[in-house]
């Protein structure tokens, strides 16, 4: 196991290298001069020259690349042009709402998605199964931000139960924080729960058709015991992978949902930076999100190997 863990961590290096290189290449794809795009048409030549040297754009490309990789390795993501603070600081300042939003969403997604999938599979073909699958299919087919807009109109505008949009920091009043995050958390979580329910059902159906389940029934175990003790345990293993993927979709979805609900999180920062052409922030946020995703996938893979002794750590 230890060796497997080490091998997996070492395997991260090439992926992160490709990721960092991609981010660098992406940001240098910009047609024309990024500096004049950032500063506008009427910037003075001195300002343009100063900005070029600040962003290392006056260096040859390979040198810029080496400089950038070197900085990234040391955790230096550069400085925001618009906010005038280090990119890392800007991201950390906005981490709280994004973190709670995703946490709320994943709690909902797992808490609803797995039981729904189990019910669907154990009552294959029943009305309950069909209803759950129709709702799940709608869930994976609708844009999350559209669900958000509809909920804003219904829940916040029509009934006035929850605030329309915005955010209160956790330190001020945690109950209001929750009130602001319930709707966005639900929107994000609902879509994911649909994905998890579909996956859980498919895997459960597979497991329930296995011989050892029939043996369980044959030796007189109660249905509950067979389903929850024997089947679910094995069905959870592939489901875990989906939860890992879910995190990625959540991080992406958070960007759009934060925009819908005006939540000052990391996703909002990314979209605003695109509008402001604040390239160092775009670069930094994209790199951090990809890094977080790679790490989560590593954790999922390790958990997977730990839970399933059949995986020979190869």
């Amino acid at each position: 196991m230890k060796e497997y863990l080490l091998r997996r961590i070492l395997a991260l290096a090439p992926v992160m290298f490709v990721v960092a290189t991609l981010v660098f290449v992406l940001m240098h794809l910009t047609p024309g001069d990024p500096v004049s795009a950032m500063l506008g048409m009427d910037a003075s030549p001195t300002d343009v020259a100063r900005m070029r040297s600040r962003l290392d754009l006056d260096q040859p490309l390979y040198f810029q690349y080496a400089l950038w990789i070197g900085k990234v390795i040391r955790g230096n993501l550069g400085e925001s042009i618009f906010l005038q603070v280090p990119v890392m600081t800007a991201v950390l300042e906005r981490l709280e709402p994004t973190l709670f939003l995703t946490l709320l969403a994943i709690t909902f997604a797992v808490g609803v998605g797995i039981p729904a999938g189990v019910i669907s599979a154990t009552r294959f073909g029943s009305l309950a199964d069909q209803s759950i699958m129709v709702v799940a299919l709608l869930g994976v087919s609708m844009p999350d931000f559209w669900l958000g807009l509809n909920l804003i109109f219904l829940v916040a505008v029509k009934f006035g139960w929850l605030p329309v949009a915005g955010y209160v920091p956790l330190g001020t009043d945690w109950l209001s924080t929750l009130r602001y995050l319930i709707m966005p958390g639900f929107c994000l979580g609902f879509i994911q729960s649909a994905l998890i329910a579909r996956m859980t059902r498919a895997v459960m159906l597979d497991v329930l058709a296995q011989d050892y389940i029939r043996t369980g029934h044959a030796k007189g175990l109660s249905n509950t015991r067979v389903v929850y003790k024997h089947a679910l345990k094995n069905a959870m293993i592939p489901t875990l992978t989906v939860i890992g993927i879910t995190f990625a979709i959540l991080m992406g979805g958070a960007i759009v949902i934060e925009t819908v609900f005006n939540i000052p999180g990391v996703g909002r920062l990314l979209v605003q930076s695109v509008m402001r052409r604040d390239y160092p922030v775009i670069q930094g946020v994209v790199l951090l999100i990809a890094g977080a995703y790679v790490l989560i996938n590593l954790l999922v893979d390790v958990a997977y190997a730990y839970l399933d002794p059949r995986i020979k750590y190869a």
Partner: protein, 305 residues
Amino acid sequence: MGNTENAGAMAKGSTGGAVWIQTLRMLARRRIVLVGIGLVAGGFLVAVLAPLLASHNPNELNIADRLRPPGGANLFGTDSFGRDVYSRVVYGARLSILVGAMSVAVASIGGGIIGLIAGYYPRLDGILMRIMDGIMAFPNIVLAIALMASLGPSVLNVIISLGFVYMPRVARVVRSGVLVVRESLHVEAARALGARDYRILRLNILPNCLSPIIVQATFVFAYAVLGEAALSFLGVGVPPYISSWGNILSEGRQFITQAPWITVFPGAAIMLTVLGLNVVGDGLRDAFDPRMRYIYGRLSNSPKG
């Protein structure tokens, strides 16, 4: 060369028309898949027939009639500029479906070629697949936003970005297909007869990898329609003066408290199209899967159908 011709023909014969017919028959037997096909076909029809179906010019401003609720002359109401929402949604289908279809083409061709090369040439496999892993390490929408940020907003760039983002999905399934097919006898026979790599890839390997490409393409289509909507909604996708479903949603968002109809209809259009694609994708995947073919064969009389 005559002999290679035969080997190729034999190999193609091994895929057999029977599998395709069986697959289609299985698809047609499942009612929900027919509903999905209907939804997708409906979306395409609306896109093609937009000028006939629209009741107004989608860009005609009419400030006197702004924010009208649905009904009367405006089936889906009007937006903040008095434009007819129904006509905008109908025309939006053109753009959203075009972007979806073209992104699928980019992802399938790019991913297909990379998958074929990676699967066939073990030397290139490592590096190509590490690059694909790198692309997949970004959440899709994040990478698409980053690409749009550097390429700038335009319809073509949305297609390039979404196609690029979904390329690794296709590359992965094609590669794993090639790895299996590469070892089969008909490939060995073709190679023994002196066929060139290009010929083997095109005639012996590609036809046997088509079914996973088709399944992936259907799902990528669904993701691309959602992706275009999300990018345009965020203001980094299709330029605002072109009506796409995402753009209508983006504009409607500012009037959500007074005029929810501006957002309800384009969102519903996206959902129905994506729903149709998802159902067709599920159906195709099950139909191509011999295991599922057996299960559904047994269950074909059940209401799930």
